[in-house]
Symmetry: C3
Subunit: 200 residues, 3 copies
């Protein structure tokens, strides 16, 4: 179940990356690389920073194949993305929840402090998108108007609070994902966002 | 003493990052991340390249707390930065000296060649700012008109020359910091800078 | 022989980086850093991702010296680059072939899957240029209209096919380099490129 969600999230991230790259009129190689870094960039950055090398996707080809499929689907359906927007958004939100949990888990596994684990969860879920935006020479969208990352931090905090109650790990994971996914859905529905900080 | 200077430098770098991010109209999450990478980005890049993982700030939460304080102060005083410019510049210059020394030391500890140690010192002091500028989609300011990095290289060379005289390590550190800090102050006072290389 | 080609490639990459940086009106420090990352950035990224630290150029100063020479030559001849364009293009193409092979080899040495080895070869040859473009706030040229990276992937595939025939490693290396170099020359001569993917 968790593996299936991981795959859905990876594919959604790859497709969102491919879409951004096509908007920038990149060639197929560029579109593929942007799809790739959007999907695995956050986890790669996390693995590099905690010294878990070779990084994850080099040891498990599943991710490479899923990204290739996402890339091909994005090209085939590239003129129909408007109609697919809702499904893609849902998949992306699943990715957000799952990737945050994976990041949290890697940090816990090597005994890092909860604050750092929350940072790793957020990095895993959000920094693929940051690298995507930088490679497209855009200021990362999550630094400007999406509360995307803030939801991951919230999810991480909820995780560590629930963990105090000695829940089974399945329940803990499910509850955290549900918090992240539902807050994200509400954030978009009710247009919650962080205001820019003006200094002038 | 040295630890205090390290904290002052970290906070000054965090505040300079927060200021840049606010100029770009980022939201609070964006401002925090830019503050964070400006403060620890150079050391993180250094740690990753020499294989010192998990990277420094993951093992010593002091940095996270100092950056949070710097971030909050930057927000509170964001409309008063013009009057604080001189203090901030002084703190930033202290950071330049201390971070260069920390980078040099890490390289020496693992037996790297002095040339590489100087590169690591410069990277520690300057590349947080490079990452900050890239995340704000600006060409890094130190590549264009600041002799910032050149001063770190000079400081590194002075360090290895003085080291030949078998000075005590405290004296060596103090002397190197003073060289970096005083050259930086003079550079700004007398408007020293490197001319761009024109190829047309 | 192979070492000589490695040096030629490194110098060509450093000079191409210096040229790009001078076009952006950077100061000498900026030009040097861009020359440096263009030459060793791909290999550095590869080393970090596979956990081969300290990264290559920190342990073998040859690269630092070659880059310094390339940087100085680029400055001296900066107004004559138009006439040197053909030589520089040839050297750059040699670099493409050699760096792809070096990347493939590092992956094979630690037992990674051929697909990942091809990715490492392409990364070694192409991502120095990607980092160069990002530091100059340009969308990486290889994502837009150069089939540069595609040729490295092709070269990697040829390498693994030829490898099935139990060729001697010298013959294998020579054949792969020749494929990469000749396809690159033909690609430029006959103006082969990948069309952008339009999604509007």
């Amino acid at each position: 179940m968790f593996h299936l969600l991981d795959i859905i999230g990876t594919m959604a991230f790859a497709m969102s990356g491919a879409l951004t790259a096509m908007n920038k009129k990149m060639d197929p190689f560029g579109v593929f690389i942007i799809a790739f870094v959007t999907a695995v960039g956050g986890g790669t950055l996390r693995d590099i920073m905690i010294g878990r090398t070779p990084v994850g996707w080099m040891l498990d080809l599943k991710y490479v194949y899923v990204i290739i499929i996402g890339f091909v689907l994005a090209i085939i359906f590239r003129k129909k993305f408007d109609r697919l927007r809702t499904s893609l958004f849902l998949f992306d939100t699943i990715g957000l929840g799952v990737f945050t949990l994976i990041g949290l888990e890697k940090g816990i596994n090597i005994g890092l402090h909860p604050v750092i684990c929350v940072a790793l969860g957020t990095m895993t879920a959000c920094f693929g998108g940051v690298i995507r935006d930088i490679l497209c020479t855009e200021i990362p969208v999550i630094f400007r108007r999406e509360i995307y990352a803030t939801i991951c931090i919230l999810g991480g905090i909820v995780f560590f609070i629930l963990r105090e109650f000695n829940l089974e790990s399945d329940v803990l994971y499910l509850a955290t994902s549900l918090v992240i996914i539902s807050v994200r859905l509400m954030a978009v529905k009710f247009k919650w966002y962080l205001s820019p900080l003006e200094n002038k």
